[in-house]
Structures are given as structure tokens and as C-alpha cells.
Symmetry: C2
Subunit: 340 residues, 2 copies
């Protein structure tokens, strides 16, 4: 019965979109977004309430292997930059009135309390997965608990659209190994320049990750993979996405790392797809391949590769435009405009 009701809404939704004063389908991806969000909320008049960006931050033992162009302390320094309103994500959230929360999922630094900081530290960075698993089973479980709890609090604050970003020096390494294992793709299709490696550094990164992959070969279970490669921010983000889906929120997915967290969530529960919007195509090598694997079409393609959820924040007004035209535009009938 609920299924039939949903079917009627979906059909009526498409008719409503088609009867707006515009040539059929001429708003392109905005129409697909309007349809998707109307379907998620099961209504002809969807609303976006308390839009929120959550940036999960964590450190990575693998960073000790020289796989990043920046030193590990940049993770905590950038968290402080977020809290001081100085980063790109602050500017874009401020521009679009997005609530911004920073989650300390496992940064190698102890922060003073701050209204925007959610403490969810598992440990002071993961272990180096070149030599051992990134985290213990207990730490993995705790990541799932804390990631869900973060979204639970935000959801209770009346938020129905949530974007996910991250900060963590070394996390393109964790993401690339996860992607390679899940998508069964060779590492060189998954490993990129991250924050800006040169050719020699990129070759070194690939070499280190190949060694790590050899050490951990044969693992296919998504939970085991997350425990093996981490990091804390990726696992918490994966859990947070799954929880957001369980609360029927619209999920904005950012770039390479966030899409990898989504990949793990999708592997655990593929129904999450109906709630996901892929906000942009990152310039990080591997993101296009990953989106193709997921059958996902990104909204924007602006050659960005910053992380922090910046792609979500920049694309948010486009998502808002989709909802706005559905709610506010006249129909051919109401405007007295001749249809074909």
C-alpha cells in the first residue's frame, strides 16, 4: 500500500516537473535533482532544512612513509584553521548559510573545546598500514558508533540534507587502497597526487601502497578492509553516511576520499544510492574511475581537489535551485502560456 502511494507520488512528481513553463526536460540535471529529492521526501513540495556540512578529520600512520606533500601536523593546523573560520570550507559554508561541524575522529593533537568541534577521537592517528592494520577491531567498532552518533545529533536538529567532507594528511593513500580492493582495480588507477606530489613522490607513494597491498592481500570484507587501511575519519564518515540514509536525509558526497567512504557504505548497504548526490568531479586521479564504478554522475566539474567538503558546499546552491524551481515556478496552465 505504501509502495503504491509512493508510486503515485513519483508519477505526479514527474508530471509536476513537466508542466512547469519550460520546454520538456530543459532544466537538465536540475530536473533529475528535483525528482530525486521529491522522491526521497515522498512529496511534491520538498524542503531542505538546516543544511549541514560535517568535516571528519583524522591522522594516518602511513603519513610517516612520505606519501603526502605536506607534513602530518597540517591536519591539526587545518582543524584549527576551520575553527578560526579561515579555510575554504568556512567561506563557502558562510556564503550559503550551511551549518559547519568539524569532527575530531582521530587527529594527532588535543583540541580545546569549541562550539563547532565535535570530539569523537578514537586515537591520536591510525597505525601505519604498511606494517600492521590501521586500527583494532574495537577502534573500528567505535568509529561506527561515533560516526552514527554525530549524524544522530545533527538530524535531531531538524537537518534533512547533510554534506560530508574530510581532512587528513595521508588519507588519499588509505582511500586508494580501499578503492583498489573493493573495485578490484590495479593501484595505479586509484593512486593520485593528493595535495600535489611530483612524479618521483607519486612513484614512491605507489611503491609504498603496493607493498602495503601485498602485506594485506586477500581481504575482501568491507569492515576488515576499513580496519586494515583506515582511517578513523573515513570509517566514521562511512558510518555517518549509512546513518544519514537510515534517517532518510539527502546525502551530499564530496570528492575522492568522501566518495571512497561512500563506496564502503554502498558496499554495506547499496540502498544508500537513492539518497546520494555526487557533488563534483575531483581532479584527484581515481575519482572519475570511482564515480564510473558507482554509476554516478557528478554535478560539477571545476577541477577542484581540495577536500574539506568544498565540492559539496560549492554545489549546494545548485541543489537548492532544483528544489526552488519545483516549488516556485508557474505551470503552463497557471501562467497562461501555450504548450506545444
Amino acid at each position: 500500500m505504501i509502495f503504491i502511494y509512493k508510486l503515485i507520488i513519483v508519477q505526479t512528481l514527474q508530471e509536476k516537473i513537466n508542466n512547469k513553463t519550460k520546454p520538456l526536460a530543459s532544466l537538465g540535471k536540475l530536473e533529475q535533482l528535483a525528482f530525486q529529492i521529491g522522491s526521497i521526501q515522498n512529496t511534491l513540495t520538498p524542503k531542505l532544512t538546516q543544511p549541514t556540512m560535517v568535516v571528519f578529520a583524522g591522522d594516518h600512520g602511513i603519513a610517516n612513509e612520505g606519501v603526502s606533500a605536506y607534513p602530518q601536523e597540517v591536519t591539526y593546523q587545518m582543524v584549527l584553521n576551520f575553527l578560526n573560520q579561515g579555510a575554504a570550507i568556512n567561506v563557502f559554508c558562510n556564503q550559503h548559510q550551511l551549518d559547519l561541524k568539524i569532527v575530531d575522529a582521530g587527529v594527532n593533537h588535543d583540541f580545546a573545546s569549541h562550539p563547532q568541534l565535535i570530539p569523537a577521537k578514537i586515537n591520536h592517528g591510525t597505525k601505519n598500514f604498511l606494517h600492521e592494520k590501521a586500527m583494532t577491531k574495537e577502534e573500528l567498532d567505535l568509529c561506527f558508533v561515533k560516526g552514527a552518533a554525530v549524524v544522530n545529533t545533527i538530524c535531531k536538529n531538524n537537518c534533512n540534507i547533510i554534506g560530508f567532507g574530510e581532512m587528513g594528511i595521508g588519507n588519499t593513500s588509505a582511500a586508494a587502497t580501499l578503492m583498489s580492493a573493493v573495485c578490484k582495480l590495479p593501484l595505479d588507477q586509484c593512486v593520485g597526487r593528493g595535495t600535489g606530489l611530483n612524479d618521483a613522490q607519486l612513484a614512491h607513494k605507489l611503491d609504498i601502497l603496493s607493498q602495503a597491498q601485498m602485506r594485506h592481500q586477500g581481504i575482501t570484507d568491507p569492515y576488515d578492509l576499513l580496519q586494515t587501511y583506515g582511517g578513523f575519519e573515513i570509517v566514521q564518515m562511512c558510518s555517518a553516511m549509512l546513518f544519514a540514509h537510515s534517517r532518510n536525509m539527502v546525502i551530499m558526497v564530496d570528492g575522492f576520499i568522501a566518495t571512497t567512504a561512500y563506496l564502503m557504505a554502498f558496499t554495506i548497504n547499496s540502498e544508500i544510492k537513492s539518497n546520494a548526490i555526487f557533488c563534483h568531479l575531483s581532479d584527484e586521479c581515481g575519482h572519475r574511475t570511482l564515480l564510473n564504478y558507482l554509476g554516478a554522475e557528478p554535478l560539477l566539474s571545476l577541477n577542484m581537489r581540495l577536500g574539506e567538503g568544498s565540492g559539496c558546499a560549492v554545489s549546494y546552491p545548485i541543489i537548492k535551485s532544483a528544489v526552488a524551481f519545483l516549488n516556485e515556478m508557474a505551470s503552463f496552465d497557471s501562467a497562461g502560456v501555450s504548450n506545444k
Copy 2:
């Protein structure tokens, strides 16, 4: 001396962008936009003031040949829809606080006065260019006068960023013949489905436009081409863009028709390019080819093909993001974040 000063600003601008707390070039096209707008305004702290969308509307004699999926009266009906706040462009301008003006450049209807309507009517639609030139030389000249006057008024209102859109049943036909003549490309690479022609209608449109092209072959002068094919809204938009450039405004270019007006303006004065932002890639066949001809890279690619300036309005927040990060983000030094 002014040239040297400008050179210094441009160099310092790039340094300012590079020193923001983000990996080098990681904001992609946003960085290019910030650099472009800073260069236009010759400052390290550019501002966007009184952003305005102008929609030029006009009717076309060629519409009598059945080249559009919609009847000609839709032009005036849509103008009324704009004035009643019911169209897509109203919704998006409202969302982003863009001032919206509608110009009656030559609609086949007499409108009552309205605060958003700028009367600049040349005639009640152009003549049918299948049989004769779309307008007289006097009408052409008047289009240039009135198009410039529209922007002059807006510029005096402290606007420094202006977007151009259009409405006119039949205007993809005028645009396609102009593009074909200027770019020296066969008509079938320029002619598309417009508001939604089926295969047979598209073949008919191509046939009609080929006949018109035969009749008017050999014309290469841009003013003569504009007089020949029209329409009033395209010529006024071309003039308006040239005037906006003369006042050093940022020029937002919309889809296929607006880009054709830009093509004509560019042919008259190629320096306009430094001020132009190509807002989106339209789904109308020919737009990609036209952008390639102009060496222009569009910001968005959302499969839209609505006109009205909708692509400008939807991309405006992205442009605003570029200016915002340049003005508001911390630098590595100011935030105490380690650089590479």
C-alpha cells in the same frame, strides 16, 4: 606606466591565490575566476556589486516557417510570465538576489508598463529572413543604440556584473545562421532542436535555414549579418555586451543564443573576451562547437537548454564563491599552517 602597474597587480593576485590555505591550484576553476575578476577590476580585493540579469525578448519572422516547437505567442506569454515572477529565471534570480530586468527588444505584443520591463521595442518582430533581411539598416542602428542604453542605465545603478539571457520563439534559427556564417561551419553543425523539435521538424528547420542561407550567401560583415538574420533581441544583446565591456563590467554569457550574440560582439571587438564568463554548456546542438570556436570553457554542464539567462543565474553563486575565497580565506602565514 598603467600597464606596469597592472602587471604588478596581476602578479600579486596570483601570489595571493597561491598563499591561501589549500594545496596549490586545488580550487581549480574558482582560482581562474578569482584571477580573472581581480584582473578586470585591477585589484586584490574584487567585489561584485548590484549583480543584474537582463533578458532581451524579441519575435522572429522566421517563426512563421514552423522552425519552432512552440507558437510565436509564447514569446509574449513568457514575458508576462517573467513579469509575474513565474519563470525559471525569476526563481533563480530570487534565490541569488540578482536584479532582473526584461527588455522588450521587439516582441509582437504591446505591454503595459512594469517596474521590471524596459521598453526598447524596435518593431513587432523581425521580418522573415527566408524572403528578405530581418530588419532595416535603421532598425539595426536603433538596436545598437537601445542595447547600449539598457546597460548604461544598469551600470549607473552601481552594477559591475551583468548576465545576459533571451526569450524569442525562433531565435535558435537566427543564432544558427549567424554562427554558420561567422564560424564558416556547415549549418547542420549549428542547427539544433531548440525548444524540442522531433527529427522531422529538425530536418524541416535545417531545410528552411539552408534556403535562407542560399538567398543571403556571401555576406561576411558582422553588422550586415545581424541585419540579415536578426533578431532584435540578439542585436541588442550584442550591443549591450559591447557596452558592458566598455564599462569594464564582468559579463556572464548564458547558452546558445547569448553566446551567438557574444560571438558577434567578439567579432566586432575581440577584447571583450577578458571580461566574459561562459556560464554553462547548453544541451542545444551547436553550443559546444561554438564554445570551442571561441576557445571558451563553460563553468557548468548541467544539460540545461532553457535560455532566459537561466545558466547565468544558476552559476552566479560559483562566481561569488571565487570572489569570496579570494577575499576571505586565510593565508598559510596568517593561519599558522605549514606549507610544503
